[in-house]
């Protein structure tokens, strides 16, 4: 996919996106609603035509083919199951349209029903299935013609939390069993981190960062990505030195810590760094701690406790304190605390 642009009137939904999705990959387009991820997906499927740019599949240009001419299938957000057809007829629809013989369709449908654990439900009308079952039929229907790429448009958003969790695992299993490339669209960061091989984070029609889940989480290249995924602390620091792939930065307190930085920049001067709350630890005030402040909020969350600490420069720093069975973490509002950091936890942002 190269140089894709899409305008709707004056509104530019997708602005110069270039992406390479690898074979057999579980690739996720992640971003807030309106970031252009669904438009991008619809262009791959053929429901929208790009205003500019090209889309190639295995080297062949497909950007101006009709949807029915592309070896790409979609799992729709609302499933879009044909209400007048049975489960089996839905699953076999694509193969029937491709003109496959009846016996072959029947065999493929049986195989698909087994794959999505709906054996024996083939003759049921789809309108009588539960949300989770409809989801499986939609998946089976899109997988049955063995597409080169399977597109999934927020398919889990209509399911309740528990079902969503199990479908996440299910999807991952289906992907590895079939070996088909999955392109998955979601605004749910957790879903993206759980399932993906690689993630592209999008905002305002552009791709902000592409990488494996751990890279997106631990090595965010810029403020938007860091902020969108997970809880985040931003600090302004000064770069002191660059030592290979690490920089040394000086905090406001004067303490110096190592920080990683995106490969395409050479940080210097004043920069922003990001530190995840779980990499910090509140301790009794001590001169050894690189940061210090006053607790102004304590939020108990079960597995851990969030401490909102006001630093000397009046910024709030979030610390995630693991809970033990012995009781709450032992800090109260108004306490003065020091904040210790684990080794190598800071990432410099491109700005």
């Amino acid at each position: 996919m190269h140089g894709i642009k899409k305008w709707f009137g004056n509104f530019q939904a997708v602005d110069d996106v270039s992406l390479e999705i690898r074979p057999n990959e579980f690739f996720t387009l992640l971003g807030p609603s309106g970031c252009g991820k669904t438009t991008l997906l619809r262009m791959i499927a053929g429901f929208e035509l790009p205003s500019e740019g090209s889309i190639r599949l295995d080297g062949a240009e497909i950007a101006s083919l009709l949807p029915n001419q592309r070896p790409v299938n979609t799992v729709f957000q609302n499933y879009a199951l044909f209400p007048h057809l049975s489960v089996a007829e839905n699953i076999g629809f694509g193969l029937k349209m491709l003109g496959q013989p009846k016996a072959k369709i029947a065999a493929a449908v049986a195989e698909m029903l087994k794959l999505v654990h709906l054996e024996g439900r083939g003759n049921d009308p789809v309108t009588q299935l539960s949300g989770g079952q409809q989801q499986r039929v939609a998946l089976a229907r899109a997988l049955a013609p063995r597409p080169k790429v399977l597109l999934l448009d927020e398919p889990l958003s209509a399911l309740d939390l528990k079902l969503r969790k199990s479908m996440q695992i299910e999807l991952k299993r289906l992907q590895s069993e079939t070996g088909i490339t999955f392109v998955f669209v979601t605004h749910d960061q957790e879903e993206a981190l759980t399932m993906s091989d690689r993630i592209a984070v999008m905002s305002h029609g552009t791709v902000r960062q592409v990488g494996e889940p751990w890279e997106i989480y631990d090595r965010p290249a810029e403020r938007f990505v860091a902020d969108f995924i997970g809880d985040t602390n931003f600090l302004d620091v000064d770069v002191v030195a660059i030592e290979g792939e690490r920089a040394r930065v000086r905090l406001a307190s004067g303490a110096e810590i190592p920080a990683t930085f995106p490969a395409d920049i050479r940080p210097e001067g004043r920069v922003s760094i990001v530190i995840r709350p779980e990499h910090a630890r509140a301790v009794a005030p001590s001169p050894a701690a690189p940061l210090a402040g006053t607790v102004h909020d304590v939020v108990y969350l079960g597995t851990d406790t969030h401490l909102h600490v006001r630093l000397a420069d009046d910024k709030t720093f979030l610390v995630r304190q693991q809970n033990a069975r012995s009781g709450p973490c032992g800090f109260a509002v108004g306490d003065s605390v020091g904040i210790e950091l684990s080794d190598d936890v800071a990432q410099i942002l491109r700005d």
């Binding site: 035509l49 790009p50 205003s51 500019e52 740019g53 090209s54 240009e61 950007a63 101006s64």
Partner: protein
Amino acid sequence: MSVTPAELGETIRRKDIRSRWLLSAPAMLLIGAASAGPLLIVVLYSFLAPGSYGDVKWAFSTDGWFNVFLSRDIFDDTVSLADAHFSIFWRSVRIALATTALCLLLGFPTAYFIATRPQHSRSLWLFVITIPFWTNMLIRAFAIQEVIRTEGLVNTLLMKLGLVSAPIQMLFTDFAILLGMTYVHLPLMVLPLYASLEKLDFRLVEAAYDLYASRFNVLMKVIVPLVKPGLIAGSILVFIPALSSYVIPRVLGGGKNLMVGNLIELQFGQGRNWPLGAALSVTLVAIVLVALLFYVRNVGKTGGGAHG
């Protein structure tokens, strides 16, 4: 690639619009040829001279229009207002307005009653309202005739009860026409009113009661303003066909109590004055258009669901 996807998109959109015109062509040609189009001929005919045995002579004449509003005395050629035509138009408007009012009086409570039934039984009640609507207008007029004729059900009942000594003449009066019109058009009032009332959020009614409104105030200050689109739609849907009705006055008015529809027919029949008939028709359409314009002004184009 010789075409870019963007060019292709434009081509697809143009083709889509072209095929949409092709698809709608049969319906539009049919209506153009056998419903809407011939209206233009009526306009043309209103400016021609009447033929001796009906039809027209191909000569320009404003006599048709002249005769709608004025009449020329056959003896001394003096010109005066065409009282007969005015009175028939005025009668028609009056009867149509009275019909609308009666339908509103009966239809609003009926629609309200249906709208406040439990969800599952509402469509059944609506069905009960629409059955008479789908039965032949002539049969319904005939049925009314049966009930109110001198030896009909009502008079028989009144005589048996000793309330009257001789049967009351009800058939072939304005009362008969009004009754028949109300009877025939009531479903047209109930359906759009129901559509509005069904969407009424009764939490607003609760809020009004909570804020010390009386029942009457709740009805007039909360419910009626909220269902105003339905009220207007229903009134227009009743007024227009009532104004131009033909069958009811013919069957229940007995040929003496004319309305505009019968006046028009008369010009094409015994009157043998087609231009006058055409001019009267155009006048009727103009009145209907004014009523429709009033509707569009007050409810707007969004009230498209009005046609039950």
